[in-house]
Amino acid sequence: MNKTVNINIGGVVFHIEEDAYEKLSRYLENIKVHFRGSEGFEEIISDIEARIAEMFQAKLKTDKQVILMNDVEEIKEAMGMPEDFGGDIEEEQPRQDSSQSQRTRRKGRIFRNADERVFGGVCSGIGAYLDVDPIWIRLAFVLGFFFFGTGVLLYIILWIIIPPARSTAEKIEMKGEKVNVSSIEKTLKEEFDNLKQRFDDFTGSKAGTGRRERRSAAGAFVDRIVDLVISLIKIAFRVFGKLLGVILLVISVLGLIFLVGGMLGLFTADIFIFPMAPFLFGSSLHSVLAFIGALLLFGIPIIVFMYKGIQFLFKFKIKTPFIGIGALSLWILGWVLSGILVVHMVQDFSHRAQFSEHYEDFTLDADMLYLDILPDGVEDAGVIIRIENESIKTLDDHFAFSFVTMDIVKTDAEDFKLQIFKSARGHSGKDAYHRAKSIQYNIESQDSSINFSSYYSIDKEDLWRNQRVKVLLKVPVGKAIYMSHDMREIIYGIGNVTNTFDGDMVGHTWMMKEKGLTCLDCEDETIEAPEPSTEYEGKETRLYYLDKFISVQVAHNLKERLLEGEKYRILSKGRSDGDWESEWVWD
């Protein structure tokens, strides 16, 4: 038992088996594709259909009422394949037109092949277009998936922008005309041959007819040159178009990889380099805004690039006029969303508040304090982000910032005083104050030593809103401090009598005098005090006059020599080869 369908062909109704019907309609489609664009297209088709109806009727008898597969086969045989009856007939009249239509048809269009699809038929469509087994295209897309899922995105975009092959004509167009590297090459070669022909014509005419008919030859000469230039420009544009297509595609694919990679990095945190996002964007609203905003802002241009690239490369057009407007409005939406986010963020940073703590319960009545850095437990934990000398460490539930700054100033009070200032920003003063207050910063003290943490931590929920910690140590006149070498990490611009840099202040004992902090055990202080007198005579000699010193240390590659003299002098001699020699003259 077979299913039959009813068809109306040439105004007559027939019962026809389903598979025979499929075959017949494919055949008629083929014929239509063949005659499309030729003069009297409709009439030819209706004539052929009428003839088919007639032949069908001849096949039907009282005991046979259904058209079968072999009937269709026989008709096909009698009528012939379109290739057998078309081309030579049309050639005569509009020769140029037909060759042109052939040419444009060869380039073909790209379609999605819904008949052999896995998802949207994109791969098999491309495969048909490039005349490559779809399996390779699929493999490429699967590989693309591992580049942050670029393959998937590209696939979806292609799915959207490539039309499906709906009619048989489109299916034939999809499969019949191959465009691959060699066919592009062929087209270009034809183009160049054509050009060469013109060039030959041009040179030939110059040699042959140039003398006899100078004037008209000159006219033809100009014509040919114009012709030549025009075809050169045409070729240049064609090559340029293809090149542009390739460039646009490459840019868009790279952009896509960066975008998707960036998105993953930004919003899944901890995997990639930038786990700050959850600290920056507190509410889920912000995250969503940032995500969609960035996606639209960068994604739309990428998609447009890709679309244009494909268009340049494969020369297919989509008839949906709103795609440009849609892309533009989505892009504008991206700007709007990003704008809203920026406004929100700016608001969140609009107010600043400070919260200060005084430490007075320490034994700050000592004559001298030893300042050191707490060994912290976060050193090898989490992801470390370095910004110049400072670092941010991310931990499970909080951030550790190394932006601690410490200053030491004079006080008129009798005892040491230690103050911690914590500051933060927020959308209101209150918000900022709460945030500042919840900054955690540790100081430990034992006897006369105080240990500072080099980090302060922020709870993940508090978000990063420019939280800062400042330590202020007030030293009374006549009392001293000693800073360990590690203190270098937090001290910042501490004023002193000798204008010694922070880095050189550590490891020394400093006494607060009326003028300011004065070093008690800095040997190099006296060297820096007097300006050395220098002489240049191929050699460089520096002479330091020093009054008092306890010991002399020579750094770098200086050699020491002790000599007798009237005064204490230190002579350092430099040679052009970079060696320095210093003489110690004991006058």
Binding site: G10, G11, G40, I44, A53, Q57, M79, G80, G86
Partner: protein, 119 residues
């Protein structure tokens, strides 16, 4: 030179000539023309005929009437227009000239080969 091409070129004009000749018989419809042409082995597949018929009609050489058929769809019965008659007459003349030309050339060749074999 391409053999197929030359054959097709030769056949093309003659095919039009033949079709016009068949139509000149009076009212004929596609199947009649097909039958004659198939007997004459001028066409192999039927599809060739329809674009030609359309073109002849469009260039004003032939016209048709619709005639109801008892056993199927209405048929187009073709006949020549006065222009078509004139056209055919010219073709007829041309054909005779061609025949003469081919006849002469072939005859002369045959004579030469005859002489060559005799001497």
């Amino acid at each position: 030179m391409n053999l197929e091409n030359t054959k097709v070129q030769m056949k093309k004009g003659i095919l039009e000539f033949c079709i016009l000749t068949v139509i000149s018989r009076g009212e004929v419809y596609a199947s009649d023309i097909l039958e004659t042409l198939k007997d004459a082995k001028m066409i192999i597949v039927e599809g060739t005929l329809y674009p030609l018929l359309t073109r002849l009609k469009n260039s004003g050489l032939s016209s048709y009437n619709w005639v109801e058929s008892t056993s199927g769809p209405p048929r187009k019965y073709y006949k020549l227009t006065p222009a078509g008659e004139l056209f055919l007459r010219e073709l007829d003349k041309q054909w005779k000239e061609l025949l003469f030309a081919v006849d002469i050339t072939i005859k002369q060749r045959n004579q030469k080969t005859k002489k060559a074999t005799e001497s």
